[in-house]
């Protein structure tokens, strides 16, 4: 790039300044040195102030508190946790809850987003308009508001567990305590079903490879998708039947005030999942739409001119190119979803921010350490995402001269 690097070029004409002032290299060094001094001085000021403030106020500092007993309970935890666990464990609980909501949110938002994005390009006017309305409504309303809406205006209106809405065919119950669903308890022999499932996946993979090889060899195409689907569903089902239904269902029962047994999807969790999924899906829809449109019409025309049908053109020419455009912004939406999951604090879902920057911060009073750890955690997420994106971009970049 011939972008000029002569930063700070002034034009004080005639003034007899020493020659080195006009040398961009020297000028750059001076400018940088000033900047560095400014930064260091600012950082020093902040740090020394903080230390002085902490000392003056006799506030405990350091990360030792992570070892201390937490003393409080958390309503949802993926690992063993009780009030006897340490603050460090509480951090882990929050982190895992954040990751849980992020993974599920990403999964659903991707599906909904792709459907809506493709619908927005549909030749069907009605479908296009419905998708547009969906995107325009949910994109332009703050996600926090949406979370609160689902939590306080929709889920909170559900009846109490005793009068909960039964889905008897599922054995589930929907109440203001959330969605309680039966839990499948595998019994002896269930591992065979799991193995069958793994085998099915491997088999599908092999079939796909065989089909491709056959087509390459003889030119005959093969319906890989349907055959694969049949294998993946059929094989485990078969194993399940053969093993004599090796699974019991733990149905939730109302005991005392609440349901016991089963899996409880708490309203906080449901509201967060719903809100994040809908909000992010609108962004994904736009990304997908833009990605598909970024492939020039000339590409489709060239494929048509070669005699490829629209379906094949999409599969062989459009999608491979669109995905390159879609994936980087898609990853940053995933990151956004993860960051937005911190709004859980507003509706009481025990995510990282709620458990750690909330309860732990209050119980220990060590604001500086707690906030630093929290921010660092999110920074790690975003650095990991950035690393992935760089890797992806360098791998997928169209080869050019």
């Amino acid at each position: 790039m011939a972008v000029q690097d002569d930063a700070g070029q002034t034009r004080s004409r005639g003034a007899a300044l020493p020659a080195f002032v006009y040398d961009p290299v020297i000028r750059g060094y001076i400018f940088q040195a000033l900047m560095a001094i400014l930064i260091v001085w600012g950082a020093y000021d902040i740090i020394s102030n903080t230390i002085a403030n902490l000392q003056r106020a006799n506030i405990a500092s350091g990360f030792g508190f992570l070892e201390n007993r937490a003393g409080f309970e958390v309503s949802q935890s993926l690992i063993d946790y009780s009030s006897d666990s340490s603050y460090g464990d509480a951090y882990l609980v929050g982190l895992l809850n954040t990751l849980l909501i992020a993974v599920l949110g990403i999964f659903f938002a991707t599906i909904v987003g792709f459907v809506m994005g493709i619908a927005r390009l549909s030749p069907n006017w009605l479908l296009r308009k419905v998708a547009t309305v969906y995107v325009e409504i949910f994109r332009n309303v703050p996600v926090l508001l949406q979370l609160l809406f689902w939590y306080k205006a929709v889920l909170a209106l559900l009846p109490s567990p005793k009068q909960g809405i039964e889905f008897s065919w599922l054995g589930a119950n929907l109440s203001n305590r959330g969605l309680i669903v039966p839990r499948f308890v595998p019994e002896e022999g269930f591992s065979v079903v799991t193995i069958a499932f793994v085998i099915a996946i491997v088999a599908t993979f092999l079939v796909a490879r065989w089909a491709k090889a056959r087509q390459m060899a003889t030119g005959q195409p093969f319906h890989t998708f349907w055959v694969g689907l049949a294998i993946i569903i059929g094989l485990p089902l078969l194993a399940f039947l053969v093993m004599g239904l090796p699974m019991s269902i733990e149905t939730p029962v109302l005991k005392g005030f609440n349901f016991q047994g089963g899996i409880a999807l708490k309203p906080e969790f449901l509201a967060l999942l719903l809100g994040l999924t809908i909000y992010t899906s609108t962004y994904i829809a736009e990304i997908v739409r833009a990605g598909i449109r970024a492939v020039s019409w000339g590409q489709s025309e060239a494929a048509f001119a070669l005699g490829l049908r629209p379906g094949l053109t999409t599969r062989l020419v459009i999608i491979p190119q669109a995905m390159r455009v879609i994936i980087p912004p898609l990853t940053s939406q995933y990151l956004n979803l993860t960051k937005n999951s911190s709004l859980a604090v507003a509706i009481g879902y025990p995510d990282l921010v709620s458990v750690f920057s909330g309860t732990v911060l209050n119980q220990t009073g060590q604001a500086v350490e707690v906030i630093i750890i929290t921010m660092a955690t999110y920074l790690v997420f975003s650095l990991a995402t950035a690393t992935f994106m760089n890797w992806f971009n360098s791998r997928m970049r169209l080869v050019e001269r």
Partner: protein, 315 residues
């Protein structure tokens, strides 16, 4: 020093809650009222002779300690429980106990529960990061019961969640329970269970390291108690100046200048009592029998009347 700073800016900056009836709550006009608020007004009266020379910062549970540590507020008077760790590790000191409280439970009457012992398996609404949250855990653990916490950062949110039926039980300091019950859509449907599961001495706190300001905070509180003990009220404080009782004389600065030693005028206590009345008056005005909260003095009665409120003498 804090006192100089306060004098320079012309008001006391006081941290209160974001809204708890009877303790610190903005009324319809936006004026703050309540027991915690009146304590701050008492401090302002002591310094400036004007109970209005105070500004209030509504703080969430999370913000309260840093606000005090950083000097954003001068006094924290926000139904805060005095605990050892707070007194020693967080750079703050408690000036006294303005309200002896204990944690209790509130349930909807329809739940059919009459004792906290029946709460096994319940969902419990509780505010995040409070001693309440810890006591709750300890209590259930000690009683061999389980529970499901539903925690929110802000009091309103906890209230709303309990009111909408998200949880079976509400727990906080029992004074708070009475206050909160009033805000439920139908207060008569809820009852407070008899068990008190913890000691909750609530009191104002100031920053560590400024002995003078700490002394002011302490002695304003003691002045309120002594005044009640001696029968000095907002109404009769001027006449009492001519009282013969040497204790009264010392308190009101007629005899000796005790104010000087803490950087205040001799008649500092007169200003305090004129501004807000004595402890008993404050109590009755904000949370007492004739308020919607209707709380009895109980532990908060003077020691002379079987309670715990006891102030060192001024001499």
């Amino acid at each position: 020093t804090t006192l100089d700073d306060v004098k320079k800016k012309g008001f006391v900056q006081c941290g209160v809650s974001t809204g708890l009836a009877g303790f610190s709550n903005p009324d319809d006009k936006g004026d703050w009222t309540g027991l915690d608020v009146d304590y701050c007004r008492a401090v302002a009266s002591a310094v400036f002779g004007d109970p209005k020379a105070v500004k209030f910062s509504p703080l969430s549970a999370k913000e309260r300690f840093t606000a005090l540590q950083s000097g954003e507020i001068d006094v924290l008077s926000r139904n805060t429980t005095w605990t050892m760790s707070r007194d020693t590790q967080m750079g703050i000191v408690f000036a006294g106990v303005t309200y002896y409280d204990g944690q209790g439970f509130m349930v909807p009457k329809s739940l059919g529960v009459t004792s906290a012992k029946d709460l096994d398996g319940a969902s419990v609404c509780v505010q995040q990061g409070t001693t309440t949250e810890l006591n709750l855990t300890d209590y259930f653990k000690a009683s061999g019961m389980t529970f499901n916490p539903v925690v929110f950062e802000k009091l309103d949110e906890v209230n709303a969640a309990y009111d909408s039926g998200r949880c079976d039980v509400y727990t906080t300091d029992s004074s708070g329970l009475y206050a909160i019950r009033l805000t439920m859509s139908n207060p008569d449907n809820h009852m407070v269970l008899p068990e008190i599961i913890s000691k909750e001495p609530l009191g104002p706190s100031v920053r560590q390291g400024d002995e003078q300001w700490f002394a002011i905070a302490k002695w304003v509180y003691y002045a309120l108690l002594n005044a009640e003990e001696m029968g000095i009220t907002q109404a009769n404080v001027e006449e009492m100046k001519s009282s013969e009782n040497p204790n009264v004389k010392r308190l009101l600065g007629v005899d000796g200048n005790f104010g000087e030693s803490i950087g205040l005028d001799a008649d500092w206590a007169v200003k305090v009592i004129k501004g807000v009345g004595n402890y008993g008056e404050i109590f009755e005005r904000n949370v007492g029998k004739n308020t919607p909260l209707g709380i009895a003095r109980g532990l908060n009665a003077l020691w002379t009347e079987g309670g715990l409120q006891y102030a060192p003498p001024i001499r």
